[in-house]
């Protein structure tokens, strides 16, 4: 599941939430649609905050790092 919150003036995303779940066999309750409705299950929540659009200064990348990034 994804939730995207946007700045109403710029229409840019300012917050993104991603929720990942997986059932545990024998412990998770699901309905007919295989949707988790209860019981013990694994859940991960990722909460992103985005800001300062266009305000980030360029960073110089060291040559050694650049070589690693450019490698196939």
């Amino acid at each position: 599941m994804y939730e995207i919150e946007m700045d109403p003036q710029t229409k840019l995303p300012v917050r993104i939430r991603m929720v990942l779940c997986t059932a545990i066999r024998g412990e998770t309750e699901t309905n007919k649609a295989k949707k988790i409705v209860g019981g013990r299950h694994v859940a991960f929540q990722f909460d992103y905050t985005l800001s300062d659009y266009g305000k980030v200064e360029k960073t110089s990348v060291p040559v050694a790092a650049m070589k690693l990034l450019a490698r196939d």
């Binding site: 946007m6 988790i36 209860g38 991960f44 929540q45 266009g54």
Partner: protein
Amino acid sequence: MCRARVFLTLLAWTSLAGLVRAGEGNSAGGRDGVDKPSLPNAPSPAVALQTIVKNFVNAKNYRVKVDVLGGYSTVEDHAVGQAMVREAYAGEVDGGLMNIPNVKVFRTLKKGAVFIDGNWKDILSDQRTVRIDRLFKFPDVILGNALNNASRAVWLAPDPVATAVNSTGYVDDGSTEYDPDWKPSGAGAAEKAKSGKKAKSDQKASSPRTVVFKKSKDAEKAALAALPRVIRVEAPPEEALKNIIEVQNSNCFGAG
């Protein structure tokens, strides 16, 4: 450095045998997803999502933070009751390059470099940075995944508690209809110029059809505050599998 932010991959859906669909429920502060017809003056959430992603692709750079919380849950809204993983990262993204200064990491969508013991090494050479690579996705990826499922997008009704009078919701400037064929591409500059000018002209030209009250500024603000600003997208069950595998590959959930 290639503009990796243009990629927005199409995911290969895999079957999710034995697993269930990625989370759902009231994770957004207790609000239920509300379909468009019940939100007056709200445009299509798919159109809004596409507009948001288009604007994001055309953004030059930004700062991003992520808080990761993982563990066991026993409730329907998937709130983590027994936390096993807590991570937080912050980075700056310029073009297709992310800089995470706290851990001295530079990364693109495909590669990463970390400064360890006086040398620059591959991001996958150290367990700590493998976790970063697996858990800290580029927002481009997530937005691309959401856009691929735009048909499942719904608006979340504005939270009356959190919404202040001065805040506003999504105001349709009439600039778009949903374009199912649009995919982010490298033509960011031209598109940015076009969308920027069009958005400005539309904002000037469009009538304030979303304004319900015209008698007072407070009433006008209240009307705008009632418009939605959060889109929820339920991914199909198959998509969860790939994401869960990446989390497992980070080895953040322990060996046991």
